[in-house]
Amino acid sequence: MQRNKISNRQIKALIITIVVGIGILSLPSDVAMIMENDGWIGILIGGLITIPFIIMIDKLFKLQPGKNFFQLGKEILNPIVFQVFLIIEVLYIILLLSYANRVFVDVMKAYLLETTPTEIILMTMLIAISYIARSPIEVIARMAVIIYPIIIIFIIFLILINIPNMDITNIYPMFQVGYKEILKGIIASLFSYSGYEFMLLVLPQAEDNKKTLNYSLNGMFVVIAIYLIVFFISLSQYGIHQLKREIWPTIAIVKEVDLPGYFLENLDGIVMAVWVMVIYGTIGPYLYSAGTILSHIFQTKVHDIFILPLLPIIYIIALLPRNLVETEEYLGKTVSYFSIVAIFIIPAIMFISAYIYNRRNSL
């Protein structure tokens, strides 16, 4: 049955599955590079910064109930400005998808499919996500509900297998970091929190409008908790020096597992399997939103005709960087800058103009 309505539980699951993505693999090492043992401060503050923006997005639709993002945008903003915003969002999504796919391929090649060509892994993943991206939003929400428990189980599993040989004292010394580093660390962690802007498309479809804010904030808190747990586990397992050395510490720590009995070793295969789903839950919805935004720019009725034409563009951009360092330096940096515009500035401008519009009309 297609109702195109989304329940509150699905909203929470969507936030978690979209936000937890490629960032989770390298985040502990990225913030540790800047803030040493105090990386968790960057993760925590970076997460808390997103909360006012989630509230703004939520309030935006409560100011003008019954309208979706595009109707709202046309009403409250200058049409050309809104068109520009949409184009920026599409560019951001295309770059992000390319970056996510490229990192995905690199991790895959390092841990699992050593001899498979990059192009084949990339193409397979793109075709797989195009399936979910062509579906209506309700299907994506259902997918999120399936993937969400997998993420939670994976985190619990990660904690359990790491408890026996963790050295808790590795998290010391605490609070040694300067203000400058905190700022840099927050910026480094912000990208890992991008994804909640998907709410702009989801919230108008919500079944129960009153409690959406509660559920979406809950989802964000779960994400912050997941990131903090992953950071503390990898720090206490590795110590600060080795953590800074690792590229993807979240996967690498499972290779450290040594439980009594010989049977649990080399768990990276299991983690990779889970991680494929995590990535799927991130980039599927993103591709969907790119299609939807494009369908409004070109004023078509359906979004799915834009999905397949997008794939070659993503494919080419993903293959542009020559190596992993270039991927991070060029593609990763560009996406980070774009994401600040897309997840902070655009929602904020939308909210402020909606607020002014409302005041003016009510007077």
């Binding site: 390092a110 841990y111 590795y238 020096h241 050395r245 450290e256 080399n266």
Partner: protein, 372 residues
């Protein structure tokens, strides 16, 4: 139309099923131990790498071959290069995911550059299990790998089993790759168990002290026990001392140690060790001889004194002779006194020999076995 779809689906199974890069399990050589020795000082092929892998045909009930393991060695420039080197005369490719033991020859680990190359190669690789156990051979690693195991061996992996199953003992302390790197990052010093040959047989005892990826000396079993006690790595251990001209055996069932650093004029490290255990043996007597509290208390005192003495001697040795912060005073400082550590960090080698130690041992004899 339908027929065409079905035909297409059937055709798809041809192309999509199966795995292109599949390798059968019996067409893989599972390297279980690697030994690295110095081959020549100059030139590219500095290392003599020895691979040990089990003969799969000799495992199980219906074994068709007798020979349990193969040992091959070649001069080459790096460990993985050796794998390629062997491909000229070994039938199947090597598979490193089940590598368990790496033995570094004495000569290799005396060369800091070579050791750093080897460790980086292993730490960077995606296949190798980072719980790989490291040892240092007194002499050549190849000889250790070729030596006869004490008992009839089941398959290859004797060294791994010794390390793994006696991990609670403190005659040697098993060391994993990650743990060693972490210790070298924090303290600049780590210890690796020492493997050596006793006649024809293999024995693992004591430890090699590694400072900045370079071997600086050996320590014996007693010193290793003291270090294990301080680092809280002892689970079960037997301690014998001389008490009233008789041997008193004491089994430790639980050991707990704590380091605390006081800083005033000097850096003083207070180490408190608390042991729990029972009496293993003393002397047969016609009367009840030890089931009295004051006797037990006296025994505890004697044990405390002896352990304290051993610990102090070991600390002295580490400070004065090796100047090696094996027990992690620097690490402790960096974690709990980060400001002071920042000022000391760069000349820690000069500061460490001046550190004062207070060792406080508390021995508890909880039971006396079955008899009074």
């Amino acid at each position: 139309m339908k027929k065409r779809t079905v035909a297409l689906l059937i055709l798809l199974t041809v192309f999509l099923s199966g795995c292109w890069d599949m390798v059968e399990i019996n067409q893989r050589l599972f390297v279980s131990s690697i030994g690295v020795d110095l081959h020549e000082e100059e030139g590219m092929n500095k290392l003599l790498v020895t691979f040990v892998y089990p003969n799969i045909n000799a495992i199980g009930k219906n074994a068709t071959e007798d020979r349990k393991k193969y040992i091959v060695s070649t001069p080459c420039s790096s460990i993985f290069q050796a794998g390629k080197e062997f491909s000229t005369n070994v039938e199947y490719p090597f598979y490193y995911k089940h590598l368990k033991v790496l033995i570094l020859g004495e000569d290799v680990i005396k060369d800091e550059k070579l050791t750093r190359e080897i460790i980086d190669e292993l730490n960077r690789d995606t296949k190798i299990n980072k719980k790989l156990l490291l040892l240092v051979a007194e002499g050549d690693a190849k000889e250790i790998l070729e030596s006869k195991p004490p008992q009839g061996q089941i398959t290859d992996g004797t060294i791994y089993n010794i390390l793994r199953d006696n991990r609670s003992a403190s005659r040697f302390t098993p060391q994993t790759l990650t743990n060693m790197i972490t210790e070298l990052d924090c303290n600049g010093v780590s210890i690796l168990p020492r493997a050596r040959k006793k006649g024809e047989e293999l024995s693992i005892s004591g430890a090699a002290i590694i400072k900045n990826y370079k071997l600086i000396g050996w320590i014996g079993e007693k010193e290793n026990r003291a270090i294990s006690l301080i680092k809280n790595k002892v689970k079960r251990e037997l301690i014998d001392i001389c008490y009233n001209q008789n041997i008193l055996s004491y089994t430790i069932t639980n050991a707990d140690s704590n380091k605390k650093i006081d800083i005033d004029e000097y850096i003083t490290t207070n180490i408190s060790i608390e042991l729990e255990g029972y009496l293993q043996g003393y002397k047969m007597d016609n009367q009840v001889n030890i089931f009295k509290n004051e006797v037990l208390l006296n025994m505890e005192k004697a044990l405390e004194k002896q352990i304290e003495k051993e610990t102090m001697e070991t600390l002295n040795l580490l400070q004065k002779e090796y100047n090696a912060d094996v027990i992690g005073v620097g690490e402790c400082l960096s974690k709990f006194h980060p400001k002071i550590w920042k000022t000391l960090q760069n000349n820690w080698d000069e500061v460490f020999p001046e550190v004062k130690f207070n060792v406080d041992v508390k021995v508890n004899i909880r039971r006396t076995g079955l008899t009074k």
